[in-house]
Point group: C2
Chain length 658, copies 2
């Protein structure tokens, strides 16, 4: 390995190395290999290239940095501290990985200013960075170079590149020619289980070129090469992958270059040897004054640009400032409210996916931030509405993304867009295929960001495509996931209400589970957004009820049908629609009791019954799916699986007569 000609950068980098090694040692937990290996690259990137202002970490036109290899978190914490971000002090570094500390094991969005996203699950960072780079180009196209003109940088490791999501994301970035995206690959030949060559023989540069990327290959410990490569990458007309050949754990004399330094503290002895090896005399958590000063100066590098931008932004007009501050336009849902009223009047009977399309037609024209899309199912998810325009590599001034058959990248890219800000992403696929994007959905929920998942074909109502295409366990699995709202509306009104809530849900991503098949209009009025309550009595006599029928989505109409049959037999029931369990659970006990009542309960859902006991209680009855679905016409499937108004009515009658 050639040693870097630039002594200063090496010293700057060593500050990262020792902060990282010492913090990991102190916490007796962490991953030193990457921070030590990529310190030279990070030093060049942050002191010579990145545009940011530590005093205003959320500056809209800053460059974004994503540590896709999130286990190397100490690299990021060290850099943020060294640059002078006021949100992080040396005490935070010392508290690495302690409960309540800002310096968590992996970078956590919202924990500390300067963390652009939560990373750790491999491949997510690089894919979400594609979303950031895409949002940047879209807003640049809309508002011009003066207001939006920045780069997205990523540090990733072999793990990120082996994950399939990296391919989806790279292919999309290449297709869209996102040339403001620059990925620095920590090409250290080592994974947790040993040498990369044990599990991989892929020529990564060739692969990325196949996806339409510019690629460069450098010595990641040579600052001149790093600088030259970054300069080149910034001028490329394509996204760039820079393979930085590094030695994992660089500087730790006995462990560098091996998997031993990947995921465990180096040990006191090795750190002492590393001090000698790198000629670093400072005590743990002390940085030589001149080096700290140089870092702090670097932290002030972009202040001029910042001031200029502030002036420009001030005079940029209301829309731009609203957009970057997450303010929805006034009365954005005026047409949506009208749609509800009209649907009640017309008794509109449509699939809720169609209802969603009708909603989007009323929403999209009012909200410039919206960027829709689908993973090659636009015609089924009904996500592309009149007036929308698809974003291409030649013209970013659109509001629809054709994600291709890449559900996982779609979700991760939407995360990146939401994190970038200035846009509100929604994306569609079949509900059952949300499995493909679950890791990214979990991150949406964990980060608490506004991403909207339009998931259609939400039950055996899918019909002939059969069990591979019929979700069963999905509702339960998302209801069990913290931090995400799962809506399953029963008609046009509830669908519109769900859209209203989803767009105003700044801190929680939302799922809209929508039917393939047509559903009757059930709501009688729309004065209040009842979906906001999570659940409510949609039909029947809540005071004198002898039983309560609980349902969501397509099964609410079955419940109402059953109610009529029971009425004929003189049995009074209330039908409760529960479009969003999470919101219902947040209501006060009095409200919940008033909805659920004390009479016996029957729940019905064309999905796994798992979890319904919560509402139905010990003595109720759950009519649901026991196993997977089947291939056949939807109507026949409902009968075959016993999810019918007759069965509901029978179950209620049995409970009531008991």
């Amino acid at each position: 390995m050639s040693f870097c000609c630039c002594q200063k950068n090496r010293k700057m980098a060593n500050a990262i190395r020792f902060l990282s090694a010492d913090a990991i040692e102190k916490s007796n937990s962490g991953h030193p290999g990457m921070p030590l290996g990529m310190a030279d690259v990070a030093a060049v990137l942050f002191t010579k290239f990145m545009k940011f202002n530590p005093q205003d970490a959320k500056w809209f036109d800053r460059d974004r940095f994503v540590l896709s290899a999130g286990h190397g978190s100490m690299l990021l914490y060290s850099v943020l501290y060294l640059l002078g971000y006021p949100d992080i002090g040396i005490e935070d570094i010392k508290n690495f990985r302690q409960l309540g500390s800002k310096t968590a094991g992996h970078p956590e969005y919202g924990n500390l200013a300067g963390i652009e996203m939560t990373t750790g699950p491999l491949g997510q960072g690089i894919a979400s960075a594609v979303g950031m780079a895409l949002a940047e180009r879209v807003l640049n196209a809309r508002y011009g170079d003066d207001l939006c003109n920045h780069y997205t940088y990523v540090i990733c490791g072999d793990g990120c590149l082996m994950e399939g999501i990296s391919e989806e994301a790279a292919a999309l970035a290449g297709h869209l020619r996102l040339n403001r995206l620059i990925v620095l690959w920590d090409n250290n030949n080592i994974t947790i289980d040993g040498k990369v060559s044990q599990s991989n023989a892929t020529d990564q540069l060739k692969r990325f070129r196949a996806c339409g990327w510019n690629t460069l290959n450098i010595d990641g410990h040579n600052c001149c090469q790093i600088e030259k490569a970054l300069k080149k990458a910034k001028k490329s007309n394509r996204p760039t992958l820079i393979a930085c050949k590094t030695s994992i754990g660089f500087g730790a004399p006995h462990k560098q270059g091996t998997s031993k330094c990947h995921g465990a503290p180096l040990g006191a002895e090795e750190i002492a040897a590393m001090r000698q090896n790198l000629q670093w005399d400072s005590a743990p958590f002390e940085i030589p004054t001149d080096i700290l000063q140089s870092w702090r100066e670097a932290g002030r590098r972009s202040l001029g640009e910042y001031q200029t931008w502030k002036e420009k932004a001030k005079s940029a007009g209301k829309e731009f400032n609203d957009v970057i501050n997450n303010k929805l336009p006034k009365n954005w849902d005026k047409d949506l409210n009208r749609l509800k009223e009209e649907s009640i009047r017309a008794q509109t009977k449509v699939a809720t996916r169609k209802a969603s399309e009708m909603c989007l037609e009323k929403i999209v024209p009012h909200i410039p931030e919206i960027i829709g899309g689908s993973a090659d199912l636009a015609a089924s998810n009904l996500t592309f509405v009149k007036g929308m325009k698809t974003i291409t590599g030649d013209d970013y001034n659109g509001n629809n993304v054709m994600y291709g058959i890449r559900e996982h990248a779609m979700a991760a890219v939407m995360n990146g867009m939401a994190l970038h800000g200035g846009v509100i992403p929604y994306g569609g696929t079949f509900f059952v295929f949300s499995d493909y994007m679950r890791p990214a959905m979990r991150l949406s929920a964990l980060m608490g960001i506004r991403v909207i998942y339009v998931l259609t074909h939400d039950s055996i109502g899918v019909g002939e495509d059969g069990p591979t295409h019929q979700p069963v366990e999905h509702l339960a699995s998302y209801r069990a996931m913290p931090g995400i709202l799962t809506f399953r509306p029963c008609d046009v009104v509830e669908t519109a209400e769900a859209w209203q809530l989803a767009l105003e849900s700044e801190k929680e991503p939302c799922i809209l589970a929508l039917t393939r098949q047509a559903l009757p209009l059930l709501r009688k009025d729309c004065a209040e957004n009842l979906t906001a309550r999570g659940g409510y009595v949609i039909s029947g006599d809540s005071k004198n009820r002898q039983a309560t029928i609980l349902a969501t989505g397509s099964e609410v109409s079955l419940a109402v049908e059953a109610q009529k049959k029971l009425e004929e037999k003189g049995i009074k029931t209330a039908v409760v629609s529960l479009p969003c369990w999470e919101l219902f659970d947040k209501q006060d006990a009095r409200y919940k009791n008033s909805v659920l009542g004390t009479a016996p309960k029957v729940a019905v859902e064309a999905a796994s019954g798992f979890g319904w006991e919560k509402y139905v209680g010990n003595n109720g009855r759950i009519i649901a799916m026991d196993g997977f679905g089947a291939s056949g016409p939807a109507g026949e499937l409902y009968k075959h699986f016993g999810i019918t108004a007759d069965n509901i009515a029978k179950a209620v009658e049995k409970l009531v007569r008991k």
Copy 2:
């Protein structure tokens, strides 16, 4: 497009085309585009290359065929019918996509002889085919060319290649140089939403070459080119991707080459025009005698090879015949039973991941079928035990796969291995990252095959790595999934019992959720495999109990601790360990009631409480996680989230005193 010189193959192919188009028309649902587009390729492949015997569809040494683009199911059904598979008649073709029919919307494993796997979710087929090709090479290395010597063919579309899993699988296949794998890509430039170029600019051949594949590029309607390419591919020392340039919906004069024929019936008019265009005079579901005869002859092509193999297999010895017939060796779990006894004697306190390793040490030497592995976490999942040998591209005679950081491909490859037979795969990763493999896990469950998921680091017990690495919703999400058994053992004995059940579970895949942290030995005896009951009273007085504490895995020891505290206060409790809800739910009511009792219940689990109401009832209490975890030492996290013996004891006391 050049027309094929071989008139006969075209006619053979047209038989597929019309069976497909007519069946889809009759069912008024389905995907004609692919069967019509790939009919020429399929005709060459099945009449000139594939080795199989319709009379013995499960012939072990047959070539495997995977229709990764499962929506083109009518291609497969047509071929199986034409070749004379007795399991499918013309009536089955006419019943395409009807409830209860063998010819489901997508091919479903087990529905019909000749379907090698369930496909539909894109990318799964190509990835599982890698597992089939790998199993073939492993068994070839063990048992020789006479007994195991076949190819795995795949037909996939653009969708499969855009899915990230295709990259993971391709990279693994390239790394392992699985040259018996031949993928035929239906390169038709069309996806559901239109032209591929709208969402993709990847040079697929270059990408596959970067992954170490051999690639070929042909006209998919020219039978000479198809034949030549397949011959070449069979001789390659690497896996081969053959790009077959086709016209989607070939033959349908007004719709071919467009997305219009992808996923909807062609319509009577277009089919009539297609009859004229392709000079096909036969009525729907009628095949000209000479053509049917040629197909049936092709179906008998491999009979000689079949007979030879049968003879060889007869004299191949017990191990080979047991292995291919899924018979575990006698007394395979003898050492495992001893381990249980010794652990009770020694009161062994270890993490259940360590317990799993101890089990594997006692299992692997006895079961030649086992093929273990991990997605680059072998040292954490403890899946690689002494005596195991890693499979490489130079030496397939091993029993461990280094999957790399490719969880999704790992799961799909395991599916392929299990489907191939002769091997029993298990694979490890962190429980939280099971999200990455969920689509493939769902297929394991849907197909009902023996795949074992070793998922360690199963709760906030992960500690410092924080919420990205701490599963919360995962237990609930798998309990909600049909067809899969989720085990969460509490000590060495339960871990060994879970391994016994998993290895004997031929029809259901199993999850072993295992701890990072050490757990005390709780079981007092091991005469009966109590985990097989799903749940049982592990400690305390089940007759005179005043309360029941329910728990799984690491929380069972907390429950037992709480029990002691309560005992001191004179409160009698029973602690129920519920290592497998699915098995417990299958017990009869009497047994379940005897375990659960009628006293008030407190459940405790370091995970989402979602679903526990089922056992705890209306008046019980659930001590669980309300949201995501956090970064910090594990012990502190348990306290922070209130999952402690003290809290359990308090909750019980409150219920009892009420």
